[in-house]
């Protein structure tokens, strides 16, 4: 059983909601990314999504765009992303790691080479924002052969027929995009999210995580009540950025991230 599957089954048996943070690798540095990953795991996160920096992040809002630009200034590449996961795995064998990014860096790395290196590094899943199932061949087959989950997005605009097709192709979990727009946008409509998540759960056994627009304990709690997991991206990336603007002491980053995650963990656990 894959790490992602194990994680969600354990959560389900204890009636808890997955907390899935997203950070951009290399913002502010590779060393800090490793520290933050351990901090997230220690503070009670269940799956960690690592953003692979890309020069043209056309589905991301300003916060993650800026983080990507900062990481690229540090010359962070997919190779660095794999190496930070290898380092993380030396001390953590259980927390699933999912890479989230755009296709071109993966395509240029080479699909064969990537799945080999990703598998060796201990990566559990991949979410390529601009690769819908229709365009996933041959990457999807290569990932499947190495038991790396291919996670797909479902959006508010996705028709039921399409959602079924996506669920048939996906593994690991489904990432439901809670609003029309880019990462970090506002205006969550919880009843709309609840209804869409319930539609998705009618067509698949896969757990459904929800992201885009969740920023604090309250929004996490309301989304957590109607889904299997909440993804927190822009709010966390922004917190890391704001903290590093004030201090370059790793301990300050660790404390800020930990305190923030703990409040969200507690809010989610109050649902159980």
């Amino acid at each position: 059983m894959s790490r992602i599957q194990t994680t969600f089954e354990q959560l389900k048996s204890s009636n808890r909601t997955a907390l899935i943070p997203y950070i951009t690798v290399g913002d502010p540095s590779l060393e800090s990314t490793l520290l933050i990953m351990h901090t997230l795991a220690d503070a009670g996160c269940d799956v960690i999504e690592l953003g692979v920096p890309f020069s043209d992040p056309s589905a991301d809002g300003p916060v993650i765009q800026a983080a990507s630009e900062r990481a690229l200034k540090n010359s962070i590449s997919l190779k660095n992303v794999l190496s930070v996961v290898s380092s993380f795995r030396q001390n953590n064998k259980t927390t699933p790691i999912v890479l989230m990014g755009y296709l071109n860096p993966f395509e240029i790395y080479g699909y064969q080479a990537f799945v080999k290196d990703a598998s060796a590094a201990g990566i559990d899943g991949v979410l390529i924002v601009d690769m819908p199932p229709e365009e996933s061949d041959p990457f999807s087959g290569l990932l499947r052969a190495k038991n790396i989950d291919l996670i797909y997005l479902i959006a508010p605009t996705t028709t039921k027929k399409r959602a079924k097709m996506i669920c048939d192709q996906a593994s690991g979990y489904i990432y439901y995009v809670s609003l029309k727009g880019v990462t970090g946008a506002g205006n969550l409509d919880i009843s709309e999210v609840a209804s869409k998540v319930s539609d998705i759960k009618n067509i698949t056994e896969l757990p459904v995580g929800v992201g885009f627009g969740i920023k604090d304990a309250d929004s996490a709690k309301s989304v957590g009540a109607v889904s299997d997991g909440v993804v927190i991206g822009s709010a966390l990336v922004n917190l890391i950025y704001q903290t590093t603007q004030k201090s370059d002491n790793p301990e300050d980053i660790r404390r800020a991230v930990s305190e923030y995650i703990v409040t969200i963990r507690e809010a989610l656990d109050s649902l159980a």
């Binding site: 920096p53 071109n104 924002v129 601009d130 229709e134 365009e135 997005l153 959006a155 605009t157 995009v177």
Partner: protein
């Protein structure tokens, strides 16, 4: 080859639909609408009527006698897209897409622009159709193209400055895609070239093929035969595909696409993805791209803002791989020289983009026989570039 793309939008291994899930439904909807309307007589009549009476088509095919004598080879004909309303071929496409928006009931249109030509062409049709219009333009380009920015504002469009990334055309396209994802219900995205996710490369091509259809007929009328070669500049490649496409099955007709060589291919400062790039995925399609060894898109350079783009339409990538068209690069200096040459000996001021094609025809025609014919797409007029050229010549206008 003329039957492409396939039903998933692929031109061989190129093209396709690589976008975030939020946009997939909108693209399906656009594809269905276009499939229904493209053979609809009412839609076609409205499009043709606008091309005739609003754009001013057909554009002339002009025998450039003095340029021909100067070069001393094949007879050079210019397809005068510079004489269209708004001064370039771009309006053929924006009229077509604004009509699609109208039939789809979308009250708002958005577009990306580099030099501002597509932005102006979009703002123009938005004014003509009474649509709300927002144009995304890189902050760098806004500073370089103040005249076109003001033109767009006069036409009632809002110009939104894009501050992310390299603050140029590719970033404007990213921002337009973000806007479309957010406002997908009421907004139509008018892409300005034969790139982007399916069905854009196909429908923009279809709207631009009026150039090649007219050129073919005009050439037969004026010379009694088909041309021997076609030459057009290639940024995204819409004017080139518009000229080339109706001739693809005519195997005797050679096709040459001219990319922006910038400071020279060897310097790395250029915008010539087919000549010097590699294949990859950007802005919704797989094609030749300028990207580094880590897969990041690299900044491009060209004297002409309209060619300053790191990708190219997927159909061009296929035409290249099949050796049906040849792609070459012309440097900034050569383009500038051609700009002056055409202005002085034909009394036609070409756009800097089109000047790349003029520079190439000077090389190509020279190698051809005097009874041979070559058609150059003069895709736009150079009024917009006067300030750039003056500055390069050290003159303050």
């Amino acid at each position: 080859m003329t039957g492409l793309p396939d039903n998933k939008g692929h031109f061989g291994q190129y093209g396709g639909r690589f976008v975030g899930e939020t946009l997939m439904h909108a693209l399906d909807e656009l594809e269905e609408t276009y499939a229904r309307l493209k053979d609809d007589p009412d839609f076609q009549q409205e499009f043709d009527r606008d091309l005739a009476h609003y754009v001013g088509r057909p554009s002339p095919l002009y025998f450039a006698k003095r340029l021909t004598e100067e070069v001393g080879g094949a007879q050079i004909f210019l397809k005068r897209e510079d004489l269209n309303h708004t001064g370039a071929h771009k309006v053929n496409n924006t009229i077509g897409q604004a009509l699609l928006a109208k039939y789809m009931g979308k009250p708002r249109v958005i577009a990306e622009t580099g030099a501002g030509q597509h932005g102006v062409a979009t703002a123009t049709v938005a004014a003509r159709f009474g649509m709300q219009c927002q144009i995304y333009m890189g902050a760098e380009d806004i500073a370089r193209q103040t005249l076109n920015v003001y033109r767009m504002k006069l036409l009632g469009a809002e110009v939104i400055s894009v501050e992310s990334g390299s603050r140029t055309l590719k970033d404007a396209m990213n921002e337009a895609m973000r806007d479309w994802s957010t406002n997908v219900d009421d907004t139509y995205y008018i892409i300005g070239t034969v790139a982007g996710p399916h069905p854009y490369p196909m429908l923009v091509r279809d709207f631009q093929t009026v150039i090649g259809r007219e050129a073919k007929q005009q050439c037969l009328e004026q010379t009694g035969k088909l041309p021997d070669a076609l030459i057009a500049c290639v940024g995204g490649g819409s004017n080139a595909i518009g000229l080339f496409h109706p001739f693809i099955e005519d195997s005797s007709v050679k096709m040459i696409g001219v990319e922006a060589g910038g400071d020279g291919i060897e310097t790395g400062n250029h915008a010539a993805p087919i000549c010097a790039g590699k294949t990859g995925v950007l802005h919704g399609n797989r094609t030749y791209l300028m990207s580094d060894e880590a897969g990041q898109i690299i900044e491009t350079h060209s004297i002409s803002a309209g060619l300053d783009y790191p990708g190219v339409g997927p159909e061009h990538s296929l035409l290249n791989d099949m050796n049906r068209a040849e792609y070459v690069a012309i440097n900034d200096d050569e383009a500038l020289e051609a700009f002056h040459l055409l202005t002085r000996i034909e009394g036609i001021i070409p756009a800097l983009e089109s000047s790349h094609a003029i520079a190439q025809v000077c090389k190509t025609a020279k190698q051809m026989q005097k009874d041979q014919i070559v058609i150059v797409n003069l895709s736009g007029r150079g009024d917009k570039d006067i300030h750039t050229v003056a500055a390069l010549d050290g003159i303050k206008v």
